[in-house]
Protein backbone atom coordinates (compact mmCIF):
# COMPACT_ATOMS: atom_id res chain seq x y z
CA UNK A 1 0.00 0.00 0.00
CA UNK A 2 2.78 2.42 0.90
CA UNK A 3 4.37 1.51 -2.43
CA UNK A 4 1.27 2.65 -4.26
CA UNK A 5 1.08 5.82 -2.21
CA UNK A 6 4.71 6.52 -3.00
CA UNK A 7 4.02 6.10 -6.71
CA UNK A 8 1.01 8.40 -6.51
CA UNK A 9 2.87 11.16 -4.68
CA UNK A 10 5.87 10.66 -6.87
CA UNK A 11 3.91 11.21 -10.06
CA UNK A 12 1.74 13.99 -8.67
CA UNK A 13 4.26 16.11 -6.81
CA UNK A 14 7.90 15.04 -6.88
CA UNK A 15 7.95 14.30 -10.58
CA UNK A 16 5.07 16.59 -11.41
CA UNK A 17 4.40 16.21 -15.08
CA UNK A 18 4.17 19.88 -15.90
CA UNK A 19 6.66 21.55 -13.62
CA UNK A 20 9.31 18.86 -13.35
CA UNK A 21 9.00 16.75 -16.46
CA UNK A 22 7.93 19.50 -18.89
CA UNK A 23 4.99 17.44 -20.12
CA UNK A 24 1.56 18.83 -20.91
CA UNK A 25 2.83 22.33 -21.44
CA UNK A 26 0.61 23.22 -24.41
CA UNK A 27 -2.68 22.97 -22.52
CA UNK A 28 -0.96 24.38 -19.47
CA UNK A 29 -0.30 27.68 -21.21
CA UNK A 30 -3.22 27.58 -23.59
CA UNK A 31 -6.30 26.51 -21.69
CA UNK A 32 -5.52 27.84 -18.29
CA UNK A 33 -7.14 31.25 -18.47
CA UNK A 34 -10.41 30.29 -16.87
CA UNK A 35 -10.68 28.27 -13.72
CA UNK A 36 -13.70 26.22 -14.81
CA UNK A 37 -12.10 25.31 -18.12
CA UNK A 38 -8.93 24.28 -16.37
CA UNK A 39 -10.84 22.01 -14.04
CA UNK A 40 -12.83 20.26 -16.78
CA UNK A 41 -9.69 19.92 -18.89
CA UNK A 42 -7.79 18.22 -16.11
CA UNK A 43 -10.68 15.85 -15.45
CA UNK A 44 -10.73 14.91 -19.11
CA UNK A 45 -6.96 14.46 -19.26
CA UNK A 46 -6.90 12.32 -16.11
CA UNK A 47 -9.64 10.15 -17.53
CA UNK A 48 -7.77 9.67 -20.80
CA UNK A 49 -4.56 8.90 -18.88
CA UNK A 50 -6.33 6.20 -16.89
CA UNK A 51 -7.93 4.64 -19.95
CA UNK A 52 -4.72 4.85 -21.96
CA UNK A 53 -2.73 3.19 -19.21
CA UNK A 54 -5.39 0.50 -18.82
CA UNK A 55 -5.34 -0.33 -22.52
CA UNK A 56 -1.63 -0.02 -23.21
CA UNK A 57 -0.53 -2.17 -20.27
CA UNK A 58 -1.98 -5.47 -21.51
CA UNK A 59 -0.91 -4.65 -25.06
CA UNK A 60 2.65 -4.07 -23.89
CA UNK A 61 2.92 -7.07 -21.65
CA UNK A 62 0.95 -9.63 -23.60
CA UNK A 63 1.70 -8.66 -27.17
CA UNK A 64 4.71 -6.39 -27.57
CA UNK A 65 7.11 -7.94 -25.09
CA UNK A 66 6.48 -11.61 -25.92
CA UNK A 67 6.91 -10.78 -29.60
CA UNK A 68 10.10 -8.82 -28.91
CA UNK A 69 8.44 -5.84 -30.57
CA UNK A 70 8.95 -3.19 -27.94
CA UNK A 71 10.21 -0.79 -30.57
CA UNK A 72 6.66 -0.59 -31.89
CA UNK A 73 5.46 0.99 -28.68
CA UNK A 74 5.62 4.58 -29.97
CA UNK A 75 3.30 3.81 -32.88
CA UNK A 76 0.98 1.59 -30.85
CA UNK A 77 0.63 3.90 -27.86
CA UNK A 78 -0.17 6.99 -29.92
CA UNK A 79 -2.71 5.06 -31.99
CA UNK A 80 -4.38 3.80 -28.80
CA UNK A 81 -4.52 7.32 -27.39
CA UNK A 82 -5.84 8.81 -30.63
CA UNK A 83 -8.56 6.16 -30.82
CA UNK A 84 -9.54 6.58 -27.18
CA UNK A 85 -9.82 10.34 -27.53
CA UNK A 86 -11.96 9.91 -30.64
CA UNK A 87 -14.29 7.50 -28.85
CA UNK A 88 -14.56 9.73 -25.78
CA UNK A 89 -15.27 12.71 -27.98
CA UNK A 90 -18.09 10.89 -29.74
CA UNK A 91 -19.47 9.73 -26.41
CA UNK A 92 -19.52 13.23 -24.92
CA UNK A 93 -21.01 14.66 -28.07
CA UNK A 94 -23.93 12.23 -27.92
CA UNK A 95 -24.60 12.44 -24.20
CA UNK A 96 -23.80 15.97 -23.05
CA UNK A 97 -23.71 18.39 -25.96
CA UNK A 98 -23.14 21.51 -23.89
CA UNK A 99 -20.01 20.02 -22.34
CA UNK A 100 -18.86 19.02 -25.78
CA UNK A 101 -19.18 22.55 -27.17
CA UNK A 102 -17.49 23.95 -24.07
CA UNK A 103 -14.45 21.81 -24.75
CA UNK A 104 -14.31 22.78 -28.39
CA UNK A 105 -11.09 21.79 -30.04
CA UNK A 106 -9.25 21.13 -26.81
CA UNK A 107 -10.69 17.66 -26.46
CA UNK A 108 -9.18 16.52 -29.72
CA UNK A 109 -5.93 18.17 -28.70
CA UNK A 110 -5.60 15.78 -25.77
CA UNK A 111 -4.28 13.34 -28.34
CA UNK A 112 -1.15 15.42 -28.79
CA UNK A 113 -0.86 16.10 -25.09
CA UNK A 114 2.65 14.98 -24.20
CA UNK A 115 1.44 14.22 -20.69
CA UNK A 116 -0.86 11.39 -21.75
CA UNK A 117 1.74 9.74 -23.96
CA UNK A 118 4.25 10.47 -21.23
CA UNK A 119 2.34 8.44 -18.64
CA UNK A 120 2.18 5.40 -20.90
CA UNK A 121 5.91 5.63 -21.58
CA UNK A 122 6.76 6.05 -17.90
CA UNK A 123 4.61 3.05 -16.97
CA UNK A 124 6.61 0.85 -19.31
CA UNK A 125 10.00 2.32 -18.44
CA UNK A 126 9.47 1.89 -14.71
CA UNK A 127 8.13 -1.62 -15.19
CA UNK A 128 4.93 -1.00 -13.26
CA UNK A 129 2.36 -3.72 -12.72
CA UNK A 130 -1.18 -3.08 -13.92
CA UNK A 131 -2.35 -1.66 -10.61
CA UNK A 132 0.79 0.43 -10.28
CA UNK A 133 0.21 1.83 -13.78
CA UNK A 134 -3.31 2.89 -12.87
CA UNK A 135 -2.13 4.56 -9.70
CA UNK A 136 0.63 6.29 -11.59
CA UNK A 137 -1.86 7.56 -14.19
CA UNK A 138 -4.09 8.81 -11.39
CA UNK A 139 -1.16 10.57 -9.77
CA UNK A 140 0.03 12.10 -13.01
CA UNK A 141 -3.47 13.36 -13.77
CA UNK A 142 -3.87 14.73 -10.24
CA UNK A 143 -0.57 16.55 -10.44
CA UNK A 144 -1.41 17.91 -13.87
CA UNK A 145 -4.83 19.05 -12.67
CA UNK A 146 -3.42 20.66 -9.56
CA UNK A 147 -0.92 22.70 -11.49
CA UNK A 148 -3.43 23.63 -14.19
CA UNK A 149 -5.96 24.87 -11.65
CA UNK A 150 -3.32 26.81 -9.72
CA UNK A 151 -2.06 28.38 -12.93
CA UNK A 152 -5.49 29.41 -14.16
CA UNK A 153 -6.29 31.04 -10.84
CA UNK A 154 -3.10 33.06 -11.07
CA UNK A 155 -3.66 33.94 -14.71
CA UNK A 156 -7.16 35.19 -14.02
CA UNK A 157 -5.54 37.74 -11.72
CA UNK A 158 -2.75 38.53 -14.16
CA UNK A 159 -5.27 39.42 -16.85
CA UNK A 160 -6.35 42.45 -14.89
CA UNK A 161 -2.99 43.58 -13.62
CA UNK A 162 -0.64 46.19 -15.03
CA UNK A 163 2.19 44.67 -17.01
CA UNK A 164 4.64 46.01 -19.58
CA UNK A 165 3.38 45.19 -23.07
CA UNK A 166 6.17 42.82 -23.89
CA UNK A 167 5.47 40.76 -20.79
CA UNK A 168 1.75 40.30 -21.30
CA UNK A 169 0.47 36.83 -22.00
CA UNK A 170 3.04 34.09 -22.46
CA UNK A 171 6.20 35.66 -21.00
CA UNK A 172 4.67 36.37 -17.62
CA UNK A 173 3.00 32.95 -17.68
CA UNK A 174 6.44 31.40 -18.08
CA UNK A 175 7.77 33.41 -15.16
CA UNK A 176 4.87 32.25 -13.03
CA UNK A 177 5.62 28.70 -14.09
CA UNK A 178 9.24 29.24 -13.07
CA UNK A 179 8.23 30.30 -9.57
CA UNK A 180 5.79 27.40 -9.28
CA UNK A 181 8.49 25.07 -10.52
CA UNK A 182 10.85 26.31 -7.84
CA UNK A 183 8.19 25.73 -5.21
CA UNK A 184 7.54 22.21 -6.46
CA UNK A 185 11.21 21.32 -6.49
CA UNK A 186 10.91 21.49 -2.74
CA UNK A 187 9.11 18.16 -2.94
CA UNK A 188 12.24 16.41 -4.16
CA UNK A 189 13.50 13.86 -1.73
CA UNK A 190 10.16 13.56 -0.01
CA UNK A 191 9.79 9.87 -0.72
Amino acid sequence: MTDLLAIFIGMALINNFVLVKFLGLCPFFGVSKKLTNAFSMSMAVTFVMLMASAVTWPITHYILIPLDAEYLRTVVYILVIATLVQIIELFIMRTNYSLYSAFGIYLALITTNCAVMGVTLVNTDEGFTFVESMVSALGAGAGFGLVLVLMSGIRERLEISQLPDSMKGLPVAFLVAALMGLAFSGFAGMV
Binding site: N15, A69, Y71, L72, V75, L79, E126, A188, G189
Partner: protein, 176 residues
Amino acid sequence: MVLLKLIKRFYAIIFLTLVVAISATLLGLTHSLTADQILRQEHARFMAYLERMFPDMDYFEHEEELYVIYNVDDEIEGYAFIGSAPGYSSTIRVMVGLEDKATVKQVMIIAHTETPGIGDRIEDEDFTGQFAGLPVDRIYLNSDDVDSITGATQSANAVIRAISEAVEEIFKEQSD
Protein backbone atom coordinates in the same frame (compact mmCIF):
# COMPACT_ATOMS: atom_id res chain seq x y z
CA MET B 1 -16.93 -4.77 -60.37
CA VAL B 2 -18.15 -5.69 -56.93
CA LEU B 3 -14.59 -5.44 -55.66
CA LEU B 4 -14.30 -1.91 -57.00
CA LYS B 5 -17.51 -0.93 -55.25
CA LEU B 6 -16.30 -2.46 -52.02
CA ILE B 7 -13.01 -0.59 -52.23
CA LYS B 8 -14.84 2.68 -52.79
CA ARG B 9 -17.08 2.16 -49.79
CA PHE B 10 -14.41 1.13 -47.36
CA TYR B 11 -11.68 3.27 -48.91
CA ALA B 12 -10.83 5.09 -45.69
CA ILE B 13 -10.33 1.94 -43.66
CA ILE B 14 -8.43 0.17 -46.41
CA PHE B 15 -6.17 3.17 -46.82
CA LEU B 16 -5.40 3.40 -43.13
CA THR B 17 -4.79 -0.33 -42.88
CA LEU B 18 -2.39 -0.07 -45.79
CA VAL B 19 -0.53 2.78 -44.12
CA VAL B 20 -0.26 0.87 -40.86
CA ALA B 21 0.93 -2.25 -42.67
CA ILE B 22 3.63 -0.32 -44.53
CA SER B 23 4.67 1.36 -41.31
CA ALA B 24 4.97 -1.93 -39.45
CA THR B 25 7.02 -3.42 -42.27
CA LEU B 26 9.33 -0.43 -42.39
CA LEU B 27 9.82 -0.54 -38.65
CA GLY B 28 10.41 -4.26 -38.61
CA LEU B 29 13.05 -3.75 -41.26
CA THR B 30 14.77 -0.96 -39.36
CA HIS B 31 14.63 -3.01 -36.20
CA SER B 32 16.30 -6.01 -37.80
CA LEU B 33 18.98 -3.76 -39.24
CA THR B 34 19.75 -2.09 -35.94
CA ALA B 35 19.07 -4.80 -33.38
CA ASP B 36 22.47 -6.40 -33.73
CA GLN B 37 24.27 -3.11 -33.44
CA ILE B 38 22.26 -2.22 -30.35
CA LEU B 39 23.15 -5.47 -28.64
CA ARG B 40 26.76 -5.08 -29.66
CA GLN B 41 26.85 -1.60 -28.16
CA GLU B 42 25.44 -2.78 -24.86
CA HIS B 43 27.80 -5.71 -24.71
CA ALA B 44 30.80 -3.56 -25.64
CA ARG B 45 29.98 -1.04 -22.96
CA PHE B 46 29.51 -3.72 -20.35
CA MET B 47 32.83 -5.28 -21.30
CA ALA B 48 34.53 -1.88 -21.24
CA TYR B 49 33.43 -1.31 -17.67
CA LEU B 50 34.47 -4.78 -16.58
CA GLU B 51 37.88 -4.42 -18.17
CA ARG B 52 38.48 -1.07 -16.53
CA MET B 53 37.64 -2.56 -13.20
CA PHE B 54 39.66 -5.74 -13.62
CA PRO B 55 42.60 -5.04 -15.94
CA ASP B 56 43.87 -8.57 -15.49
CA MET B 57 40.60 -10.12 -16.52
CA ASP B 58 40.81 -12.94 -19.00
CA TYR B 59 37.24 -14.21 -18.98
CA PHE B 60 34.25 -14.31 -16.71
CA GLU B 61 31.39 -16.57 -15.83
CA HIS B 62 28.17 -15.65 -14.24
CA GLU B 63 26.01 -17.51 -11.80
CA GLU B 64 22.71 -15.68 -11.74
CA GLU B 65 23.42 -12.06 -10.93
CA LEU B 66 27.01 -12.43 -9.78
CA TYR B 67 29.85 -12.29 -12.26
CA VAL B 68 32.99 -14.23 -11.37
CA ILE B 69 36.13 -12.79 -12.94
CA TYR B 70 39.03 -15.05 -13.86
CA ASN B 71 42.53 -14.06 -14.84
CA VAL B 72 44.90 -15.80 -17.25
CA ASP B 73 45.93 -18.34 -14.63
CA ASP B 74 42.31 -19.43 -14.14
CA GLU B 75 42.30 -17.90 -10.69
CA ILE B 76 39.46 -15.79 -9.40
CA GLU B 77 40.35 -12.10 -9.75
CA GLY B 78 37.21 -10.91 -8.12
CA TYR B 79 33.49 -10.56 -8.52
CA ALA B 80 31.14 -8.01 -10.03
CA PHE B 81 27.45 -7.28 -10.03
CA ILE B 82 25.10 -4.61 -11.24
CA GLY B 83 22.69 -2.74 -9.04
CA SER B 84 20.11 -0.12 -9.80
CA ALA B 85 17.84 2.24 -7.92
CA PRO B 86 15.68 5.23 -8.84
CA GLY B 87 17.51 8.49 -8.38
CA TYR B 88 16.24 12.04 -8.70
CA SER B 89 15.40 12.06 -12.38
CA SER B 90 16.45 8.67 -13.66
CA THR B 91 17.26 5.12 -12.69
CA ILE B 92 20.89 4.94 -11.67
CA ARG B 93 22.81 1.79 -12.54
CA VAL B 94 26.06 0.93 -10.85
CA MET B 95 28.64 -1.75 -11.39
CA VAL B 96 30.26 -2.95 -8.19
CA GLY B 97 33.53 -4.80 -8.32
CA LEU B 98 34.47 -6.98 -5.37
CA GLU B 99 37.88 -8.15 -4.22
CA ASP B 100 36.36 -11.08 -2.40
CA LYS B 101 32.82 -11.70 -1.40
CA ALA B 102 33.04 -9.23 1.48
CA THR B 103 35.05 -6.24 0.30
CA VAL B 104 34.40 -3.72 -2.40
CA LYS B 105 37.10 -3.15 -4.95
CA GLN B 106 35.53 -0.36 -7.00
CA VAL B 107 32.22 1.24 -7.80
CA MET B 108 31.39 2.62 -11.23
CA ILE B 109 28.28 4.48 -12.32
CA ILE B 110 27.23 2.95 -15.61
CA ALA B 111 23.95 4.69 -16.37
CA HIS B 112 22.08 7.74 -15.22
CA THR B 113 20.49 10.93 -16.41
CA GLU B 114 20.67 12.96 -13.23
CA THR B 115 20.78 16.72 -13.27
CA PRO B 116 24.00 17.88 -14.92
CA GLY B 117 26.16 19.79 -12.48
CA ILE B 118 24.22 18.60 -9.46
CA GLY B 119 23.16 14.95 -9.53
CA ASP B 120 25.90 13.91 -11.88
CA ARG B 121 28.44 14.52 -9.16
CA ILE B 122 27.86 10.91 -8.25
CA GLU B 123 30.38 10.24 -10.99
CA ASP B 124 33.10 12.15 -9.14
CA GLU B 125 36.05 10.22 -7.76
CA ASP B 126 35.40 11.84 -4.39
CA PHE B 127 32.12 10.02 -4.15
CA THR B 128 32.66 6.68 -5.88
CA GLY B 129 36.17 6.39 -4.52
CA GLN B 130 34.96 6.17 -0.95
CA PHE B 131 33.54 2.69 -1.51
CA ALA B 132 36.90 1.17 -2.40
CA GLY B 133 38.08 -1.14 0.32
CA LEU B 134 34.86 -0.85 2.29
CA PRO B 135 33.31 -4.02 3.68
CA VAL B 136 30.12 -4.78 1.81
CA ASP B 137 27.94 -4.84 4.89
CA ARG B 138 28.97 -1.32 5.86
CA ILE B 139 27.27 0.12 2.78
CA TYR B 140 23.75 1.20 3.54
CA LEU B 141 21.81 4.44 3.89
CA ASN B 142 22.99 6.62 6.80
CA SER B 143 25.94 4.37 7.49
CA ASP B 144 28.78 6.06 9.35
CA ASP B 145 31.27 4.88 6.77
CA VAL B 146 29.47 6.33 3.78
CA ASP B 147 29.26 9.99 2.83
CA SER B 148 26.49 11.46 0.75
CA ILE B 149 26.67 14.52 -1.51
CA THR B 150 25.34 17.86 -0.30
CA GLY B 151 22.73 19.16 -2.69
CA ALA B 152 22.48 15.82 -4.46
CA THR B 153 21.10 13.69 -1.66
CA GLN B 154 18.62 11.77 -3.77
CA SER B 155 21.14 10.87 -6.43
CA ALA B 156 23.80 9.87 -3.91
CA ASN B 157 21.38 7.85 -1.80
CA ALA B 158 20.18 6.06 -4.91
CA VAL B 159 23.73 4.89 -5.54
CA ILE B 160 24.03 3.64 -1.97
CA ARG B 161 20.68 1.90 -2.19
CA ALA B 162 21.57 0.38 -5.55
CA ILE B 163 24.63 -1.21 -3.96
CA SER B 164 23.04 -2.34 -0.73
CA GLU B 165 19.90 -3.75 -2.35
CA ALA B 166 21.89 -5.68 -4.93
CA VAL B 167 24.13 -7.05 -2.17
CA GLU B 168 21.09 -8.21 -0.24
CA GLU B 169 19.59 -9.88 -3.33
CA ILE B 170 22.73 -11.68 -4.37
CA PHE B 171 24.18 -12.76 -1.10
CA LYS B 172 20.83 -13.76 0.30
CA GLU B 173 20.49 -16.15 -2.63
CA GLN B 174 23.99 -17.41 -2.12
CA SER B 175 23.36 -18.39 1.45
CA ASP B 176 20.04 -20.06 0.60
